[in-house]
Symmetry: C2
């Protein structure tokens, strides 16, 4: 059915990319903390960044660079310190990082993008970072995707990496991606980072449009706890090394590429939600019957973000009332007499009224789905129909467990 | 300083009101579950209702009655069943309740408002309710405010009632109020109900305007877990029995009355937040320097609703990064270089950058404030300044504890 297949290699699966990930000594734990992604040639670059008014220096830095020039050669990402709330000094640190890497790679500093994740209010350990750049550069390889995926992790329990391949004519086109989520065992770490590489040739505005739409259907539709970070960053590169015809406007080729880009983003987004703090399962909410996709997206995200519902799922309680109540407050008008709700195969509500259902069996579905979800094989599926119109969307989240509270309460600054 | 004083009596403190609260057998627990508030004469009535698209029959019923006629004689409130998600039958049950009470009181059914709280999807136990009306009516008294406050509780741990008195010339004017919050140990119970009585004479549109503003500064600025109920209802009556001059437009008298109305609503709203599920303290967030009051309100409510911050407060962690991050994502533009954050007497951030502070002392402040808060004597106070403009607002919430998860997870339908 799908027009692509999964392949190995993550962000270095597409042609013309190399990556590395090393321990620079930025994290006290000694875990890998510095990642580099390089394209052999200037790659078209698109970005989606945090909407927060409190932003890390690297976010403003990337925005400025992409406004000036929509192509880059490299992305440098550190974990350990977020470089947010660091004022002018943080800005200078960002520039110094890019300059040091540019010198080592012998490229233009304007061709480097930056990302950081870690403790807010902490400057990057610049001495360690600068000292580590020669090793970081020397270790880049066409098999370095996994090392880079590891070095951007903070308290993620699972590495998040994927690559997909499709055919354009007789040539393969590939998209790879890595991400880190919000496994925030340490304080002030809430950042979502994702980097996507693609070897197709796409025009800059089209690539940005595709990425914005893909982000809206993936990363912007997940919630762990409703918090948005100072550092959230999604960057996608397209370097044309597949040697397939350039895609410069709408059409079947653009649709095909965007669908695969969206699939990569959706995979990474779901992996982040599944790995949410204290989560025991991934929850997928599918909303149909809305006036628009955006309206459906709002309803889906409101439901999956409801603390009451998340706690009920943790307790294996098929509590349709909380689903209905969350749908009702999402800010989208609908006729409550048309509301339908299903949990897995169990229809819980129809025409706005509760149906008789086997509560024990539905609870058992939650137990089984959660067990399978924990093994990354299944999802707790909630379907909600709010009317007869064509708008539909999905959102993903996780349940609310004792461990979420524990992780977030038991640290004292 | 304040122009009013606290008095006893709750909703029956103002002149010309009687109330009762009895056990009608609607709740399995045998606790009081039916409340009646009566004004001796037709009282101007204003209401603020849930914005949810999924609404209980009583909410639609009240809206319809108030649109047709802005005055009533009585409010009937049951707990046990929410009468939401009950369709046409629920609507007929609402009408039948009003008719039965109207017959017993010998008044027009159109002069009765209704409220319900309890399990969503359950019809009111009509047989028990109808059978209990004679007792409910016979027990009404000028000292019945406490009984009514008790009968609207569901899983609230603390009864919520207040009365204030001021002078207009040489005559007292009083406002009383009762509320129930969201101590949702049972599933699907998330309703906030509040009833306010006043013996001033006010014109209907002015009374509604005052109530809407007061609700925006109180009930709409609290959050326990971000969920809005199908049944949320605030009704305020003004019956003119203080025999003070009618207030029909803006001016000092209107301002004075509105200030006291707002104080009553704020007291009840804070009591609800303090009694949130699993809460160990009340958190107050004060935001200043915003372009408008509404902008400040959004920032304040976003901060107090952040699960990350709530968990940090539970853990006594003076985590300014989470406060800054929540402020940044509130949807209000501000210059991050002007951000200031204080926790109690500790200034944590200035000019968008973290200050050195005694983390152990700040954590100790949280421990002490929480201990006092538990005794209903103090509040965890967070002050945030986002700029130099005049808009300010407050919001209230509670911390996120293991017990919140326990209460909401450990029930299986």
């Amino acid at each position: 059915m799908s027009e692509w297949q999964k392949i190995d290699g993550g962000i270095t699966a597409p042609k013309g990319y190399k990556a590395s990930g090393i321990t620079a000594g930025l994290k006290p734990s000694g875990a890998p903390d510095l990642a580099l992604i390089i394209s052999d040639v200037e790659a078209i670059a698109a970005g989606v960044f945090t909407t927060s008014q409190v932003r890390a220096a690297c976010v403003d830095y990337c925005r400025q660079k992409l406004e000036a020039k929509p192509s880059v050669r490299a992305i440098l990402c550190n974990s350990g310190q977020a470089n947010a709330g660091t004022g002018q000094q943080g800005w200078e640190d960002a520039q110094d990082s890019a300059k040091a890497l540019a010198a080592a790679l012998n490229i233009d500093p304007d061709s480097i993008l930056l990302a950081s994740t870690g403790v807010i209010g902490k400057r990057i350990k610049m001495e360690e970072l600068i000292a580590a750049i020669p090793q970081l550069v020397s270790e880049v390889s066409e098999n370095g995707g996994t090392a880079a995926a590891g070095a951007i992790m903070t308290t993620d329990l699972v590495m998040k990496s994927i690559a997909l391949e499709t055919q354009f004519g007789d040539r393969p086109v590939r998209i790879g991606g890595i991400a880190k989520g919000s496994g925030m065992i340490h304080p002030n770490m809430a950042t979502m980072l994702a980097f996507v590489t693609c070897d197709a040739a796409v025009s800059p505005p089209l690539w940005q449009e595709m990425l914005t739409r893909a982000a809206n259907r993936s990363f912007n539709q997940i919630t762990v706890d409703g918090d948005t970070s100072t550092n959230d960053t999604l960057i996608a590169l397209a370097n044309g090394q597949s040697r397939t015809p350039a895609i410069t406007g709408p059409g079947p080729d653009a649709d095909k590429l965007e669908a695969m880009l969206t699939a990569v983003c959706e995979h990474l987004a779901k992996a982040i939600a599944r790995d949410g703090e204290g989560a025991t399962c991934l929850i997928e909410v599918q909303v149909t019957g809305a006036p628009t996709e955006a309206a459906a997206a709002m309803v889906a995200k409101t439901i999956v973000g409801s603390s009451l519902l998340k706690a009920a799922i943790f307790g294996c309680d098929p509590n349709w009332g909380r689903i209905a109540a969350a749908a009702g407050r999402a800010g989208v008008r609908f006729d409550q007499d048309k509301l339908e709700i299903s949990l897995g195969e169990f229809q819980l509500m129809k025409n706005g009224q509760p149906l008789a259902f086997d509560a024990a069996a539905a609870s058992n579905y939650l137990k089984l789905a959660k067990t399978a979800a924990y093994l990354q094989e299944d999802t707790v599926l909630i379907k909600v129909k709010i009317g007869d119109e064509p708008g539909s969307s999905k959102a993903w989240g996780c349940d609310l467990s004792y461990d979420y509270v524990k992780i977030n309460a038991e640290y004292t600054t």
